[in-house]
């Protein structure tokens, strides 16, 4: 990792895509997220870093209401997507998740063909009128997932038969296929080897052109490499949020500094 490049990271001022205000999350009695305020910009990669159990994944899952599936989880505060509260009673979480796609820590392709994996989202959302359009979406998504060249000859092969890195890129292609506006990635590279990680990181950088990407990562190097903004979580608190270069070279909070220099974590 070349620290010298950090200061050169361009941070264009973009419009705010997601705004979280005083978000608190409880798992039963335990208070997992405490008064988090964060503004996630459009066409930007935002990285959430922090030690294990600090709540970064929990917060990420709040952004597309994946926490709804956990009975004991309660979310308080406002999370606004384009100014609309996603926890409003009128919001259907299914519709929200079509706008805010998600890639998970462990590659989890459906045990179906590669084609069906990617086509599933467009199918259930009715994005394609006919087979030709669907084919087009699948090809486009697989290309954006940087996996088209590897799988174009075996679209009928099961997605579970791919290597770990390929599976994760397939999952990214699957998430992209529904044309979300925000892409949430929960430690997408933790199960991948360095080469696959590099490919996925390159891909994330490309995706920035069209989406707002939020990535949770354990690897500070990764955060430094791919993100423009970084948020540091510690024990459920958002300790510091700012341009990646600043967080890594000139953190304001002593806890951030301790973490990035490896003294806590």
């Amino acid at each position: 990792m070349n620290d010298m490049t950090l200061m050169d990271k361009t941070v264009d001022t973009q419009k705010i895509k997601i705004a979280a205000k005083d978000v608190n999350v409880y798992y039963g009695d335990s208070h997992a997220i405490k008064d988090v305020n964060v503004e996630i910009e459009d066409k930007t990669v935002t990285a959430f870093i922090g030690p294990s159990g600090c709540g970064k994944s929990t917060f990420l899952r709040c952004l597309n209401r994946m926490n709804d599936t956990i009975d004991i989880c309660r979310v308080k505060g406002d999370i606004l997507l384009d100014g609309e509260d996603i926890y409003d009673k009128r919001v259907d979480p299914v519709q929200l998740r079509a706008k805010v796609g998600m890639v998970f820590q462990k590659p989890n392709p459906f045990p179906k063909s590669i084609y069906d994996n990617v086509a599933y989202g467009p199918r259930i959302h009715g994005l394609a009128k006919n087979k030709a359009e669907l084919d087009e979406i699948v090809e486009k998504s697989l290309r954006r997932g940087a996996i088209w060249n590897e799988v174009k000859d075996r679209l009928d092969a099961p997605g579970t038969g791919l290597s770990g890195g390929q599976q994760q890129r397939l999952c990214i292609a699957r998430a992209v296929a529904t044309e979300p506006e925000v892409l949430l990635m929960d430690e997408p590279c933790s199960a991948l080897d360095p080469i696959a990680t590099a490919q996925v990181e390159e891909l994330i950088d490309e995706l920035r052109a069209s989406y707002s990407v939020v990535i949770v990562t354990h690897s500070m190097q990764q955060a430094a490499r791919v993100s423009q903004k970084t948020a540091f979580f510690h024990l459920g608190n958002l300790v510091e949020f700012g341009p990646t270069g600043q967080i890594f070279t000139n953190p304001e909070d002593s806890r951030t500094e301790s973490y990035i220099t490896g003294r806590i974590g």
């Binding site: 597309n64 994946m66 599936t69 009975d71 299914v94 519709q95 998740r97 079509a98 796609g101 998600m102 890639v103 998970f104 462990k106 989890n108 392709p109 459906f110 045990p111 599933y120 989202g121 259930i124 959302h125 099961p158 579970t160 999952c171 699957r174 998430a175 296929a177 529904t178 003294r263 806590i264 974590g265």
Partner: protein, 454 residues
């Protein structure tokens, strides 16, 4: 945070000695090895005992039951005399039907006499005693034939008649000249006749398809009894069970597993379902009697009622296995589906259910196999006893007409007096076991075939 430099200062602790040389076993090791060897021996002994019992079971069943698949038949030429069967001679079917089975007795006696004369067998038996070696079923068989083919009256037709149960037992070695001393149904002279007819090739023991396809017979005709009709009874019950238990069970499990909130009510339901699986089947039988027959007035002895009762019994099995297989689908698949914006129902029906299907199927087959072998509840709803003498012809008949089921039929035979029925009970058990083993094998194959594809 771990820091190796923070280990306590001072003298480094000495490692503990584990005996002397590695080449010598310490007493502790010897003891441990001995107990391991002992445990292995216990295990092998247990398995051996189990296998021996299984072997004894299978040999007994096969040894005692194969006899039921063979039957002694007598081939006779019968002259269908017009003056006995159709006195008016105008082949009016109503007139022919007026001749009861008693009217056929002389014809059968005559046919026996003719056969004895033809093969030159010397016997002091009277015609009635000659015919005594044939089954009491013969007259009915003859009458059915004549009613079906009235144009054959006046001709001589060759028939294959069932020999009586005693003769059949003699041919199979169950009945001997000693054992019939006090038996009024057969005499030593008749056995001589049987020997002579067997030598002449008129009387022979062959494969008995009628046992597999036929209906039960009354106490006096064990040789005519078959398990076929009760097999149909079982089949119709299984249809009812499948049609009710599978959809209800799967729907209940999907709701409980995927949609229901976790609260005291669902917990209570869960506990009750698990408990239902342990309720003795006879309880379901008396419930069926009280609810389906006495209260809802469904017909007694009907496979529909049997099926309903067995459905109650099978439901917990299906629900438990379905929930287990739904649980075994990794949550990452649900997350994946929800993550691309599928609704909960879409996630379940598009992804979770197909992956759980092999497990559900296996559970269903095992539940059905259990239901197929169940006897106790059938006793209470009247599906045991000499019930159906004809195979049902329509689906409604199959469901509503009184019938028995395979295990109930076996129970019925086992409690009758004539040892010929006892043999048939064993034969029925062979058939029932073939069904059960087939179903369980199918379940195993399905499980292997579709095991874990993620």
């Amino acid at each position: 945070m771990t820091d190796l430099s923070q280990s306590p200062a001072g003298a480094a602790p000495q490692p503990r000695k584990h005996g002397g040389s590695l080449l010598e076993k310490t007493p502790r090791t010897k003891k441990r090895n001995a107990s391991e060897a002992r445990f292995k021996a216990y295990g092998i002994a247990a398995i051996t005992a189990g296998l021996i019992m299984l072997l004894i079971l299978v040999t007994t069943i096969v040894g005692k039951g194969t006899g039921a698949f063979q039957q002694t038949f007598v081939t006779l030429k019968v002259e269908l005399l017009e003056e006995k069967l159709d006195k008016k001679g105008n082949r009016d079917i109503e007139d022919i039907k007026k001749v009861t089975t008693f009217g056929y007795a002389p014809i059968i006696k005559a046919a026996m006499e003719a056969a004895v004369a033809e093969y030159g067998i010397e016997t002091s038996l009277k015609p009635k005693e000659l015919a005594g070696i044939l089954s009491k079923d013969v007259a009915a068989q003859l009458r059915d034939y004549v009613i079906a083919n009235p144009d054959q009256i006046g001709q001589t037709v060759e028939f294959r008649f069932l020999a009586s149960g005693r003769v059949d037992g003699y041919m199979k070695g169950r009945v001997s000249r000693d054992s019939i001393e006090n038996d009024k149904n057969i005499s030593p002279a008749q056995l001589d006749l049987v020997d002579a007819l067997a030598a002449a090739g008129v009387l022979e023991k062959t494969f008995n398809l009628d046992f597999i396809t036929g209906a039960d017979a009354s106490d006096a005709r064990p040789e005519a009894a078959g398990i076929g009709v009760s097999m149909l009874g079982s089949l119709f019950m299984m249809l009812v069970v499948l049609a009710l238990a599978l959809p209800i069970g799967v729907a209940a499990s999907i709701y409980l597993e995927e949609f229901a909130p976790q609260n005291w009510l669902t917990d209570l339901i869960e506990v009750n379902i698990s408990n239902l699986a342990a309720v003795p089947s006879i309880v379901f039988g008396i419930l069926g009697l009280a609810v389906f027959i006495n209260y809802m007035h469904l017909p007694t002895s009907a496979p529909l009622v049997g099926g309903l009762v067995l459905t109650l019994m099978t439901l917990p099995t299906i629900i438990i296995s379905t929930r287990a297989s739904l649980k075994s689908v990794p949550p990452s698949i649900r997350d994946a589906a929800l993550g691309v914006g599928a609704s909960k129902m879409q996630a379940v029906f598009h992804h979770v259910l197909p992956l759980a299907a092999p497990g559900i199927l296996t559970g269903t087959i095992i539940g059905l196999a259990q239901a197929l072998g169940e006897t106790a509840p059938l006793l209470l709803i009247g599906m045991v006893g000499f019930i159906a003498s004809n195979a049902p012809e329509t689906l409604a008949d199959g469901l509503l007409a009184p019938n028995s089921a395979m295990p109930a039929q076996i129970y019925e035979w086992a409690k009758r007096a004539d040892p010929a029925f006892y043999e048939r009970a064993w034969g029925g058990i062979i058939i029932l076991l073939i069904f059960l083993v087939t179903m369980n094998t199918l379940a195993v194959i399905l499980r292997r075939r579709f095991e874990r594809r993620w």
